[in-house]
């Protein structure tokens, strides 16, 4: 399941999570972000229970995107113990995402 987060739930869902969290930064008008949707869904399914997958709409949360130094989407950020441990900018294959997540789980 993919959680929709915003600036009010970011701390609780991402920074205070006891599991790694993959955050998908996206926007409606970003076609490559839309192209990534099936990949994100497949990843969320594969790591169900082990990793939280969350979507953050940058259009609705521009300050948060700025705090995270994100100036390009799609960007996938991976958090572990409240810290960003990886950042994948641009389009990613499922293999690249699962590789990054497996590394965070190890």
């Amino acid at each position: 399941m993919i959680k929709t987060i915003d600036k009010t739930t970011f701390d609780g869902t991402v920074l205070k999570s006891d599991k790694p969290v993959l955050v998908d930064l996206w926007a409606e008008w970003c076609q490559p972000c839309r192209a990534m949707e099936p990949t994100i869904e497949a990843v969320a399914k594969e790591f169900e229970g082990k990793v939280t997958v969350a979507k953050l709409n940058v259009d609705e949360n521009p300050e948060l995107a700025q705090q995270l130094d994100v100036m390009s989407i799609p960007t996938m950020m991976l958090f572990k113990n409240g810290q960003p441990v990886n950042r994948l900018v641009g389009l990613s294959t499922k293999e690249r995402l699962t590789g990054a997540i497996s590394a965070a789980l190890a």
């Binding site: 926007a27 008008w29 970003c30 076609q31 490559p32 972000c33 839309r34 192209a35 990534m36 099936p38 990949t39 940058v58 259009d59 521009p62 995107a65 130094d69 994100v70 100036m71 390009s72 989407i73 799609p74 960007t75 950042r87 900018v89 641009g90 389009l91 990613s92 294959t93 499922k94 690249r96």
Partner: protein, 325 residues
């Protein structure tokens, strides 16, 4: 080993999908491997997925690039094309039926249509990857939003660069076009539109020699292509639109490629009989959505003729397509 198909199409831009429409209507039951999103600008649907309004595809005026691609894709599916969201990892064109692999999964087909398109060229500077997503971008439609009220630069002098520069004036305080020559390569209509835009400045005869910034992009170092003099331009954003290179790595050693990596074609025939190439992967000259669609059609018709001559297709359906031409 899997069943042998009539035709496998690799790629899902205007070329691949048009080939799929024609092959499907000819009842060839094409399998189209549309790819998987990867890297900068490499995605199912191709380059039109990152463009805005279409003005030069007949009948499609007013549509956005992704909308046009969705319509063409839907048309291919309607006529029976089988589309899989898989990225081909290996091919073997040395024997027929030809082999196509997605990881360990093997497909076989009597004919192949290659329509893998082209992907954006990068500047080749180390820092462009370090600062990618931190001010450096290859997609104006995705990232323009982040540069509201900021000073940005676009590198390139072609239509794509002009489209990006014009689009970015919706957000940016200023847009500087950096171009290696003293004259644009863009079409007259796009060049005129950019030159007439008050928010767009031009830095002629310059190339980006370095990209500077610690955590985020702060400036670019420009080198004059005539005098060699260096200067610094403070920008928060740098959009790279210096052209494309053919996505043909997969076919090295399998098909004849030219020195720039384009698949060498005669019409749409490659160096291997039964393998056809269409769209930007074989076109260094026109590179338009409409020429891609045109060559995609040619590839499907040629594949159909090849099948009729070489393989009296037992897999061919009993009832011919009834739709009118």
């Amino acid at each position: 080993m899997s069943d042998t198909r009539n035709v496998i199409i690799i790629g899902s831009g205007p070329a691949g999908l048009t080939a799929a429409i024609y092959a499907a209507r000819a009842n060839l039951k094409p399998l189209l491997l549309e790819g998987e999103p990867m890297g900068a600008g490499d995605q199912p649907g191709g380059q039109l997925m990152n463009t805005t309004e279409i003005e030069n595809f007949p009948g499609a005026i007013g549509l956005q690039g992704p909308e046009l691609m969705a319509k063409i894709r839907e048309q291919a599916v309607t006529f029976g094309a089988n589309i899989a969201s898989q990225r081909v990892t290996k091919v073997d064109f040395s024997v027929r039926p030809f082999g196509v692999w997605v990881g360990d999964q093997e497909y076989r087909a009597e004919t192949i249509i290659v329509a893998t398109g082209a992907k954006p060229l990068m500047l080749g500077l180390d820092d462009e990857w370090r600062l990618m997503g931190r001010g450096v971008s290859t997609c104006a439609t995705c990232d323009g939003f982040f540069f509201r009220g900021k000073d940005i630069a676009v590198v390139g002098g072609g239509d794509a660069a002009m489209e990006e520069a014009i689009f970015l004036t919706n957000f940016a305080k200023s847009v500087t076009v950096i171009h290696r020559r003293d004259k644009l390569r863009a079409s007259q209509v796009m060049a005129d539109r950019a030159l007439a835009n008050d928010k767009i400045k031009f830095h002629w005869s310059a190339e980006v020699a370095a990209i500077n910034g610690d955590r985020m992009l702060e400036s670019v170092t420009l080198k004059d292509t005539v005098t060699g003099d260096k200067s610094r331009l403070a920008v928060n954003g740098l959009f790279i639109a210096i052209g494309h290179k053919p996505s043909s790595e997969l076919f090295e050693g399998q098909l004849e490629l030219d020195s720039k990596g384009y698949i060498v074609t005669k019409g749409v025939a490659t160096s291997v009989p039964g393998v056809y190439a269409c769209g930007d992967v074989q076109d260094a000259v026109y590179r338009q959505a409409i020429t891609s669609a045109g060559t995609g059609c040619m590839a499907a018709l040629d594949a159909q003729h090849f099948l009729e001559e070489h393989a009296p297709a037992p897999a061919k359906a009993k009832t011919p397509a009834t739709a009118a031409v």
